[in-house]
Amino acid sequence: MDYFEPKTLSEALGLLAKYGEQAKVIAGGTDVMVDIKYKEEPGCLVNIKKIPGLDAIRENGGSLRVGPLVTIRDIETNSIVRERLPVFWEACHQFASLQIRNTATVGGNICRASPSGETLAPLLVLEAKGKLAFADGEKSEPFTSFFQGPGKSSVGAKGLLTEIEIPYPSAGSKSIYLKHAVRGAMDIAMVGVAVLVTPDAANNGLQDVRIGLGAVAPTPIRATKTETMLRGKPFSAALVKEAAQMAASESSPISDQRSSAENRRWIVEALTRRGLQQSWQAATGKEVAS
């Protein structure tokens, strides 16, 4: 197996253009090293950790720009993330173990494109975008269209994610990330649900609502039908119940060792209900009227 430590982005992109599917990008290594041990060795490893400028968190206008080499722990301990992007913070806080959070990078979690990737449902509801670089240019892509299937994304074999742009949600909104797993630590989510609500001026209904579902479809998804149904309606327990059932029907989970598909749908329903109730209450100070 060949090994490269490119010192610049263009050098890295040149290697990926040359080796294509043979090349595997590695950063933290927490997923790739397991693949090397238990699946197969790639033709070559491209370690991108020596490329400068990809490991910073900075504010830019109304958004946070996060470098792909920023570790999950760096995000978890960042006070701006905790204050302005609590749904993203919560996912990083619940991520694996301290040892893994110290090593795993956010870019790796995204580009792995696992349906259960912990940070992905939160990034979907935050309407974050990725800056993708290729040998022949770069583009910006919202994560809502970035994921194409398990392990498949717009970055492909020849591109690199170079920045994650996360716009701050509007002032009156509240968000929450709920994860269901058997163990607290070191467990992959059976279901992850991220909810963001923005009440209308009268605190009567939802001006905006976004629901992200993890681990219950080939990619992390937004429950867009449910969101459309909810917008503009007076918020009530009956509406929440209907929305939770609808979100469950928008999921298409598989059965595996962690859970049956049927159980996953129930959990989507329960967590969506809880997420809507809790974020509504946090945003409005009001209990959900029944």
Binding site: G29, S97, L98, N102
Partner: protein
């Protein structure tokens, strides 16, 4: 493809070589003969292979040996001062936090990293620090006792 690795382990400069596919754990155990760091799940889930990497606890089984280049690494062998055990090691013995002992080096490293960050850890700090370490013998209570005792001794409270 063999890579040259220049690293510092337990304060000692080391120059050696490793394959690109070699994990830091394999490099430590098999190349450098630091056998105190344990191989268990080999997938980053159990914490037996925990070492301190540039001041932070990490799982050496899912870290590339290549990443040891230029890094400062502390393994369980680096804790005792001659015959005098590190306070965390002594506390594990004194509270009976060791049974079969296989997970112990990983635990002690995680706890040392915690107590390097704070000598007044809260229950939450302790849970966070060792929730990536699995012990199948002790039931954890004695490990938590050991952490409190080590913290008190390091801070001069006991």
């Amino acid at each position: 493809m063999s890579l040259t690795i220049n690293t510092r382990i337990n304060g000692k400069s080391i120059r050696s070589s490793a394959e690109a596919s070699t994990s830091l754990l394999e490099f430590l155990r098999d190349t450098l003969e630091y056998k105190g760091t344990k191989l268990c799940c080999n997938t980053g889930e159990c914490g037996a292979c925990t070492v301190i990497y540039n001041g932070k606890p990490i799982n050496s089984c899912v870290t590339m040996a290549a990443d040891a280049n230029g890094a400062e690494i502390i393994t369980i062998e680096g804790l005792a001062n001659g015959d005098e055990l590190h306070p965390v090691q002594q506390a594990f013995i004194d509270t009976g936090a060791v049974q079969c002992g296989y997970c112990t080096p990983g635990y002690i490293i995680s706890v040392k990293a915690l107590l390097d960050r704070t000598t007044k850890p809260t229950a939450e700090d302790i849970e966070e620090a060792v929730s990536g370490n699995i012990c199948r013998c002790t039931g954890y209570n004695k490990i938590v006792d050991a952490i409190h005792l080590a913290a008190d001794r390091i801070a001069g409270r006991a």
